[in-house]
Amino acid sequence: MIASLLEIGLAQTQELSSVGFDLVNVFFGLIAVVAIAAALKMVSTANVVHAALYLLVVLSSVAAVYVLLGAEFAAATQVLVYLGAIMVLMLFGVMLTRAKIGKETDLDYEHRWVGVLVGILMFAVMGYSLIEEFGDQKIPNDNYAPIQTEAVANEIFSTYIVPFEALSVLLLAALIGAVVVARKD
């Protein structure tokens, strides 16, 4: 549903871009703010379950961004796999480790500043290099046309067939590995 909404917005964007009002930008701004806020909450909340829920928000926002970028299939997969499967897995993890459902006091490392420092440092580096490198490059408007799922499928099953197969093996291995590791014996 959201995706379709966004799709409408996208269509409008293409129409309105000529007059300088860029609706997509507005959407992106909203999404970005929500995502960043949720992400920050996620890493700072004292409640593990809340953190999981904030992550849900972030992942959804990311899916929205995919849509803005015309990556529909990826957005769909994001929603299905992340929001559906991984989040459930996470919640299971939270439950199985018997986390409190309320606030916890001792979730964070004492020296938060180290993390802040490293984070800011990395951001500074990345931000600087991105601005240096891509400056004011724009994504060509033509490219906003959603890439067809067919194209994606073609790519996967022709050019990237070997990685795909490897990935499947990896998944299998991870599956077995997870079972082996987590198994009680």
Partner: protein, 891 residues
């Protein structure tokens, strides 16, 4: 004689070519004694005695041969009394000498300037051939010392070398005998004094090793023997004294716990000394020089169980080692200065010919002077010599009086042209050698006054006399120096052995004040021989020392009439009819002369004291010995140390005979006979160098005059400076002898007066004068003299000599020794400091700290390695960011 010489001209005597046998015999004896000595009935001493007998015989034969070549008597009687050299004589020489080059002299005689010219003319084109490059095929490492037979084919070379400039490089064997002009030819007299050539060295060389094959820096180092008057003289001295000391030792050291070793070392010493004396190259000289040093070390430390003895040995060796720095460097400088040769004859030739530049010569001479200072006990490196008396007394006589310590003096003579040119003797009034010699001779004499140990008196006397020799050589009086070396060896050996005999009787004490006195009547033989030795040392005519000492004083050319203003006028029978002497250069050596005169007086004075304390008065040994009460009375601590050391060596068989407290008695014949022989020598050897004026005055054959000079001093060989000779002077002889006599009387008077006033004073010589009428008379004379010269004796004998000598001794013991000790201690401290702080701290520290750095960084990284995934992640991300940042901004 004349004919014999002419005959002998045709070949080099066998003994001179094979003189290497002489040192080889004792060397062999050394090995034999070490190997089987202990199992022999006489504990090895028989081997030593046999070897020294052989050496003695060969040396005497060599000496005879040499003297025969030069002539037992001079040519005066045969030549015209006018004594002027004429051209006719030279032409005669030419015909008789066969291979001798003719020399045209403008003026008769042997003028300095002309002499130089002539020698240059003769030597210009005659480098001494090198055995290593003589013949490429056979120039390998055959060594004469190792018994390779000497090829006699080298007579070829010899005759060739003697008659043509292109010398004996055609010798057909590695070993070759070289003689630039035939020594025998030289014995033909052209005139009374003007030998054309005389005393040419006979060199028998073999290649030792080569280096720098075929390159521009090629040099061949040869080893061999060099026989000339000087080495023959030393050969004579060493073999006689060594032989007598061997005999003496069989009694003196009998029963010692290391009797065998003692004889082994004596043999080794004899071998080393002869090896050094006969060496034909400076390198060989160094080898011999050090080997005698080692023997000295071994024999000073003969009773090494006691620390003072081994300390003394170490001190001797190390002090000599300091001098050896100079020796090594000096020889190296000479090696390069003389175009890469160690050959003594060649170095001398080049020095005379002016082929070595002056700087090289001066530096070499100065460096070698340090070596001489240490070996021959010159001021300031003499301090080891008195301490060296810790060794057995015969060793002191042989090594530390007669032979080894004169090695330095010998080396001066060996390389005389180097010193002559290096110190520019002909043109100066003072030089380093004369000055050091002068200082030593006076300093040593003063020091001898305050000793109470008889051996120490003699040791300082030796120092003083060595200084005399160096003084003489420094003034250019070559023959005088060598002659003094010669005479000194006999009388000083006689004195030392006499002191040993005395101590033998006095429970092995050498303390004159507490353990001796009045020995004259107990041991008359020892007394009389000792007296003769003392007289010779003091310079009492006609004993040996008189002749040599006066020659030295004449050589200073200070005394009116001794200076040779007119070069070449060697003998002017009208004026110089007294002592024949040689003198140096144009300069007059006033300061050395004064030193010499002072010493003449001093020597007489201190020896009088020794005689008085030892042989006169009453025997003081008695009971005082057992309680060692005399230790308190010692005025020098060093003496005390060494007395104890002497006392502790193993008892002799004789000890039972006289026991403690018993009266002393004369020593056995094995001790007294050598003493008598030496005393005889000390009285007569002086006549070997009588001045022609004296000879004439006595009506003796003129050919008897200045024999020693003729035998020892080379003339016209091109390897010896042309020395012009000082004229002897009767008045000087009288003056010097008078000086000696006066001091004898003054000192004696002083002591007598002291004893008379307070017989229980430091010296127990009470009643001396009352017991012996002749002495009482002498005493009266002395007493008068004492009143007459109150100031003189008060200041000199009573005042100045005491404090001055004490001060000098104090300086000696405290400052000089102190410096040496301090240097040693500082060396150790510095070494310890460097070792501890620098070696272990810094250098090793740097190494260890690099290890520690690794460890520390490991410690640091270990902290990083916390096991916390978070930390790893932090580092990973942080580092990535940093690296990216660095790459972005820096690159």
């Amino acid at each position: 004689m004349f004919l014999a010489a002419a005959e002998a001209a045709s070949e080099t005597p066998w003994i001179f070519e094979n003189i290497w046998i002489v040192p080889a015999i004792p060397a062999l004896s050394f090995l034999l004694i070490i190997a089987i000595g202990k199992r022999l009935p006489m504990k090895g001493s028989e081997i030593g005695l046999a070897s020294i007998a052989a050496v003695f015989a060969l040396s005497m034969f060599a000496t005879y041969t040499w003297v025969d070549q030069i002539g037992f008597t001079g040519g005066h009687s045969e030549e015209s009394a006018e004594g002027d050299t004429g051209d006719a004589e030279y032409s005669e020489t030419e015909s008789l000498g066969g291979g001798v080059q003719s020399v045209v002299l403008d003026t008769p005689g042997f003028a300095a300037a002309e002499g130089d010219e002539s020698s240059e003319e003769k030597t210009e084109s005659k480098p001494v051939p090198n055995a290593c490059f003589a013949d490429e095929d056979t120039g390998d490492s055959d060594d004469a010392e190792y018994g390779d037979d000497v090829d006699s084919a080298d007579k070829d070379a010899e005759s060739q070398s003697s008659d043509e400039t292109d010398s004996g490089t055609e010798a057909s064997a590695g070993i070759q005998t070289v003689s630039l002009t035939n020594p025998s030819g030289s014995s033909v007299y052209a005139a009374s004094d003007g030998y054309e050539t005389r005393g040419e060295a006979i060199i028998t060389d073999t290649c030792w090793f080569k280096t720098g094959a075929d390159s521009s820096t090629a040099s061949g180092i040869s080893v061999g023997t060099l026989v000339d008057g000087q080495s023959i003289m030393m050969l004579f001295v060493v073999s006689i004294i060594s032989g007598l000391v061997h005999i003496y030792s069989t009694d003196y050291v009998n029963g010692d716990r290391r009797y065998t070793h003692y004889f082994a070392f004596l043999s080794l010493f004899t071998a080393a000394m002869l090896f050094m004396v006969l060496s034909s190259s400076t390198l060989q000289l160094i080898v011999g020089w050090e080997l005698v040093g080692v023997c000295s070390f071994g024999l000073i430390g003969h009773w090494w169980e006691e620390k003072p003895n081994s300390d003394a040995a170490l001190k001797a060796f190390l002090t000599n080692r300091v001098g050896d720095i100079g020796l090594l460097i000096g020889m190296i400088v000479l090696y390069f200065g003389a175009e890469r040769t160690f050959d003594i004859a060649e170095i001398n030739r080049q020095a005379v010919a002016g082929e070595i530049n002056q700087l090289h010569l001066s530096v070499a001479a100065l460096c070698l002077m340090t070596a001489i200072m240490s070996k021959s006990g010159q001021f300031v490196l003499h301090t080891w010599l008195p301490d060296a008396m810790a060794g057995p007394t015969p060793v002191s006589a042989l090594i530390h009086a007669a032979t080894m310590v004169v090695a330095g003096v010998y080396m001066i003579g060996r390389l005389y042209p180097v010193f002559w040119e290096g110190f520019m003797m002909p043109g100066t009034n003072l030089n380093a050698m004369a000055f050091i010699g002068g200082l030593t001779t006076v300093g040593g004499g003063l020091l001898a006054f305050v000793q109470r140990d008889i051996k120490k008196v003699l040791a300082y006397s030796t120092v003083s006399q060595l200084g005399y020799m160096v003084l003489a050589l420094g003034m250019g009086a070559y023959t005088a120096g060598m002659f003094h070396l010669f005479t000194h060896a006999f009388f000083k050996a006689c004195l030392f052995l006499g002191a040993g005999s005395v101590s033998h009787a006095c429970h092995h004490s050498f303390d004159m004040k507490s353990d001796m006195g009045g020995l004259r009547k107990y041991m008359p033989k020892t007394f009389w021989t000792f007296m003769i030795g003392t007289g010779a040392l003091m310079g009492i005519p006609p004993l040996a020392g008189f002749w040599s000492k006066d020659e030295i004083l004449v050589g200073a050319q200070v005394w009116p009439g001794t200076s040779s203003e007119k070069p070449g006028a060697f003998v002017d029978d009208g004026e110089g009819f007294w002592l024949a002497a040689t003198g140096g250069g144009d300069g007059t050596f006033t300061i050395p002369f004064i030193f010499g005169c002072i010493t003449a007086a001093l020597t007489a004075a201190y020896m009088t004291r020794v005689i008085m304390l030892t042989f006169f008065g009453e025997y003081r040994g008695g009971g005082a010995h057992d309680d060692h009460g005399h230790d308190d009375a010692h005025d020098t601590h060093a003496a005390a140390d060494h007395d104890d050391a002497h006392d502790t060596h193993d008892a002799h068989g004789h000890d039972d005979a006289h026991g403690h407290g018993g009266l002393p008695h004369e020593s056995g014949s094995r001790i007294t006979i050598p003493l008598m022989i030496l005393a005889f020598m000390a009285s007569v050897v002086g006549f070997l160098n009588m001045p022609s004026g004296f000879v004439k005055a006595l009506g003796l054959p003129e050919g008897w005059a200045h024999r020693f000079e003729d035998w020892v001093e080379p003339v016209g060989t091109g390897q010896f400076p042309a020395i012009d000779h000082a004229k002897p002077s009767l008045s000087l002889a009288v003056f010097a002898t008078g000086l000696g006599l006066i001091s004898i009387l003054v000192v004696r008077g002083y002591y007598m007066k002291l004893f008379a006033k307070d017989p229980m004073a430091t010296e127990y010589t009470d009643g001396l004068a009352s017991k012996f009428p002749p002495l009482r008379a002498l005493h009266n004379v002395l007493e008068n003299k004492y009143y007459l010269d109150h100031l003189y004796s008060g200041v000199i004998a009573g005042g100045t000599t005491g404090p001055l000598a004490r001060a000098a001794y104090w300086v000696n013991q405290n400052i000089l020794d102190g410096i040496i000790n301090t240097v040693g201690k500082t060396g150790v401290l510095l070494g310890r400091f460097i070792y501890r702080f620098f070696d272990q701290g810094v250098v090793d520290g740097a190494v260890n700290s690099s290890g520690q750095a690794a460890g520390l960084s490991g410690q640091f990284l270990r902290g990083v390695q916390s096991g916390q995934v978070r930390n790893y992640a932090t580092l990973m991300f942080g580092a990535t960011a940093l690296i990216v940042a660095v790459f972005m901004f820096a690159v």
